[in-house]
């Protein structure tokens, strides 16, 4: 069970003056149950790439295999693929259209042709998974707050019970609390349901905290791919392509430049805090020992 992408190219406006490579020779394989962070600055091809993964865009050349099957193969069922690979677009709340929250979430499973009981069961499950209180279910989605709308929209995709969930900047425009809640819910899905998650984001902090693999895109090409610690080693190259490592990486490197023997692979604030405290503890011990000798 995996997604395998081979030599994927996508050209916009092929054969006109506006011709532009959106993706250039992209290769990778994502295994079941991975949590992948996809990062890149605006226009780097992230959004184009994820739309290929569920067949919304067709590549100019190259192949994509889902569970070993070529999705461009003859007779491949694209609609079935779309229910297995769920895609939550940027600002997904703009796609709500039903009279109440519950029916909107039912839209996906209804298109899958399930029975009424099954549809409702799935919608309820999905709404609980995103933590939306039951009192909102009968309301119009347009009366909810921004964060709540976003949850409804994510539930709308979850209700289809996808095996892979792709989210394009699911936290854009949310306050820190809303952001953390949504990301925590994603982690729970990943942990408890073993869902494969691909998270597109601008925030290195978020990705460092949640993803166990990072892919970096630049000008339509995949430039880095690996565990966060490894990718953040290249923080100078990341800067050159308009990105940055998490802020804590800079502090750690600054400390090392000043001769503090701290581990350069720390990527979250919590890890760095513990490491610094441990170092301080040792330093104090040394100082005290020194004092003892002097006396």
């Amino acid at each position: 069970m995996s997604i395998r992408v081979e030599h994927l190219n996508h050209i916009y406006g092929d054969g006109t003056v506006y011709e532009q490579y959106a993706l250039r020779d992209v290769n990778f394989e994502i295994q079941d149950g991975e949590f992948v962070g996809l990062i890149g600055h605006t226009g780097s091809g992230k959004s184009t790439l994820i739309q290929h993964l569920n067949g919304l865009l067709k590549a100019s050349s190259g192949a994509i295999y889902y569970n070993g099957e070529n999705i461009y193969g003859e007779g491949y069922d694209m609609r079935a693929l779309r229910s297995k690979v769920g895609l939550v677009f940027q600002y997904p709340e703009h796609q709500l259209f039903e009279v109440d929250v519950f029916s909107d979430v039912c839209f996906g499973p209804k298109n899958q042709g399930l029975s009424k009981e099954e549809i409702e069961e799935r919608a309820k499950d999905a709404l609980r998974q995103v933590g939306l209180d039951e009192k909102f279910w009968e309301q119009s989605p347009f009366e909810l707050s921004g964060g709540q709308k976003r949850r409804v929209a994510i539930a709308g995709v979850l209700a289809m019970k996808p095996e892979v969930l792709i989210l394009d900047e699911p936290t854009a425009g949310l306050d820190p609390k809303g952001r953390d809640e949504i990301l925590d819910e994603l982690t729970a899905l990943h942990r408890d349901k073993h869902m494969t998650i691909i998270l597109v984001s601008h925030s290195m902090e978020d990705i460092a905290r949640y993803a166990d693999r990072i892919m970096v895109m630049n000008h339509g090409e995949k430039v880095f791919d690996g565990p966060p610690r490894q990718v953040f080693h290249h923080y100078r190259e990341l800067e050159r392509i308009g990105l940055a490592a998490p802020q804590i990486t800079y502090i750690i490197h600054e400390l090392r430049d000043h001769g503090v023997p701290i581990d350069p692979d720390l990527i979250t604030v919590e890890e760095a805090r513990d490491a610094i405290l441990a170092l301080l503890g040792k330093a104090e011990e040394k100082e005290e020992k020194g004092k003892d000798k002097a006396e």
């Binding site: 739309q51 609609r79 779309r82 997904p92 703009h94 796609q95 259209f97 839209f107 289809m160």
Partner: protein
């Protein structure tokens, strides 16, 4: 998908025609259209052809881009040509039933076809070399005299340029919403008419909501920048005639006179 439709279809290259004042181009298009209706001899059409080819060459727009505009009128062209061919009275070449192919008919049909094709080509040169904003700007200035009879020229042209500006935005939005609903298993292609109409609801509702949201946002942004209609409003790039515009007007006059002289 939808993004491939070229609307507004400005072709961004740098040429003398691109740099011309939009009023000059508007006027030129008008002169060309008038000349097409005045011309009734082969020589006059030859002059028009030369004028058109020169304009295309100077504009640096590839010919196949300009010809693309013809697709829209192919049907109209076919109908008018066949009507003219068979229903013009005169000396018959051959006859099938009541349909009579005449020399006169062939002639009128030929001119008719040329006229239509040139009309489309001529006006596409204008739209391909002028941004929609310049165009409305030019229209606003050229029609400024209508203000005196109470026509709100500025407001109308502002609405026009906003509408034009919103076409690509709404196309993109439609594309996005369509994809998002397709990701949820929506199907826009199959089914009978009623099913198809029904399947549009998940597309149209969000589209309308977003159009209204954008409209209120834009109105707010305009008010925040003290927009209050055309009165006393100055331009960042006021339209000004340059030497090339004066030369162009001269060319128009020479051309028009030539066409009139060559009439039969």
């Amino acid at each position: 998908m939808i993004r491939d439709i070229t609307l507004g279809q400005y072709y961004p290259v740098d040429s003398v025609i691109h740099r011309m004042d939009p009023r000059t181009k508007l006027f030129g298009t008008m002169v060309f259209i008038i000349s097409l209706f005045l011309a009734n001899s082969i020589v006059a059409y030859a002059v028009a052809t030369v004028f058109l080819i020169l304009a295309v060459r100077i504009s640096k727009v590839p010919f196949k881009f300009i010809v693309r505009g013809l697709k829209a009128v192919v049907f109209l062209l076919l109908i008018s040509v066949s009507f003219n061919m068979f229903l013009t009275p005169g000396e018959p070449i051959f006859q099938i039933g009541f349909l009579k192919l005449t020399w006169e008919g062939l002639r009128t049909a030929g001119f008719m076809a040329l006229r239509l094709i040139y009309l489309v080509l001529g006006s596409s040169i204008m739209t391909l070399t002028t941004t929609p904003n310049e165009l409305t700007d030019g229209l606003e200035r050229s029609l400024g005299f209508l203000n005196k009879v109470g026509v709100p020229v500025h407001e109308i042209s502002m609405m026009m340029s906003i509408a034009l500006r919103f076409i690509p935005i709404l196309i993109e939005e439609t594309d996005k919403i369509m994809k998002a609903q397709m990701a949820r298993g929506a199907d826009f292609e199959t089914g009978n008419l009623i099913q198809k109409a029904k399947s549009m609801v998940p597309l149209l509702v969000p589209l309308f909501i977003s159009a209204f949201r954008r409209a209120t946002d834009l109105a707010m942004a305009m008010e925040a920048r003290c927009y209050h209609g055309g009165e006393g409003r100055t331009k960042m790039k006021p339209l000004k005639y340059e030497k090339r515009d004066r030369i162009a007007y001269l060319v128009y006059i020479v051309y028009l006179v030539l066409v009139i002289l060559l009439r039969k």
